[in-house]
Amino acid sequence: MGKKLLLKNDHIPDIHTFEVYRKNGGYTSVEKAMKTMTSEAIVEEVKKSGLRGRGGAGFPTGMKWSFLAKPPGVARYLVCNADESEPGTFKDRYLMERHPHLLIEGMITSSFALGANTSYIYIRGEYFYIARILEAAIDEAYANGWLGKNILGTDYSLDLYVHVGAGAYICGEETALLESLEGKRGNPRIKPPFPAIAGLYGCPTVVNNVETIMAVVPIVNDGGEEYAKIGIGKSTGTKLISASGHINKPGVYEIEMGLPVEEFLYSEEYCGGMKGGKKLKAVVAGGSSVPILPAELFLKTAAGEPRLMSYESLADGGFATGTMLGSGGFIVMDETTSIVKNLWNFTRFYHHESCGQCSPCREGTGWMEKILHKILDGHGTIKDVDLLWDIQSKIEGKTICPLGDAAAWPV
């Protein structure tokens, strides 16, 4: 059995309540951080842990935190990205629904480290019922003195609020999320300036994924070095994987980074193999915005080594097979699946979700969708395939935010 950090108490009934959570060691990272550590020391532990952002881009969290500007007299914000809309990804939902206090604890410890006195959890609107669970847990945390003024008798105060969105995939992109939190359309901003300098209301802001913020809890409790012992190379710690599609046991699993992909797919502890004993055709191993990996390239890397669940191993294989761990969405397709149709499904998704600011993204995704539809109807020609490639090359690298790239990649 792999080590569990975020889901270690998953089996405990009522762990979503303050009382049970606290009895099982909850909120100790806040005590440790506020009573025995400076903010710099916490950032240092996060750096040592090697933790990388779990929202998709995999950027080192400690480094991100150290970039936060600290002009005197200016408010700083921590915003939790709970927009989770990447197709095939549902781990944040699972984590928040069952472990709301773990997120709140992570938010308090992280906000303290960053010197933020107001923090927000931006959650996608469709998760309204989870927003209620979080709000109930936040009320409990206030009632027990973990939020509000002078936490643990120190001079540190923190207010934490949930903010619901209203349905727009693009609001998962951090600058679109900030626009949306300011009450505007979710159009990504041109960077720089980065949020660390000018984010929410023009103030220095850190945006982190739900899972990233939760991981800060064991890092502070056990130390960054302990965390870094798990995993392989620059992929440290554990990762939550959302497994779905044609498998026997879809669900959310916490794995140690570096688990062989084959074991994840076929062992009883995880996906339990292919549904109905069918043959594997392809896997999307990091949410929809990464290239699809055909079966023959899936289990082994280009160099013939077993493929592992890590940022590096999944990226290996050059352009043709390179995929990414991304947000940890693992969608498995069996031999009955039409890859072209699947591609059309993803492309339609991106076309639908393009915010429309950049013409290559707005128009290109629409054209790609149309061409794929034509191919699906059996009227496709070689010219159409060339045209697809041409459009994809015209989108890639030419847009404000990575949605345009993501739409081009699967092609």
């Binding site: 609107g125 309204f128 609020y161 349905g167 300011e182 009450g183 359309r185 599609g245 499904n345």
Partner: protein, 180 residues
Amino acid sequence: MNNSKEIKFSEESLALVQRMIKRYPEGKQKSALIPVLHIAQAEFDGWLSSEVMDYVATLLNIQSVEAYEVASFYSMFNLKPVGKCVIEVCRTSSCWLLGAEDVIQHLEKKLNIKTGQTSSDGMFSLKSVECLGSCGTAPMMQVGADYYEKLTLEKVDGLLDRFRTDNKRKCYTDKAEASN
């Protein structure tokens, strides 16, 4: 209909709006726009007429056009009247792999409408939407606050009957049912 009654929140909703506004720094009350539009949609028949949006804008002390811009950007806001139960079926990857198209076709036949339309009795609207984070329990649909997962066609039929019997408007802001 929206315009036949006066547009004004209940006392309860007004208090909620005030609480929302307080979550953001002074002068940044525009941040409460999306949360308040949700409250408005729930209170005024499940959709946002221009009169309702004007009212929300006045409450938040912003221009009406700022409210229109936002309401039209986000897929959860309805800018036209909808049925009491808006059925939103996920059509994305994992749901698609596990039969979302059959669910949608079945619903279209049962309700005698196309996706995007509302049934003539005003009971149901059918929408297809993108991934709702329920891929491990696919296929799925959302109605109001509730997620209905691991759908089969029989399960869908049972739900339709229940919604008809309940005859209640379902909103995102409702309390979710215990288990689906």
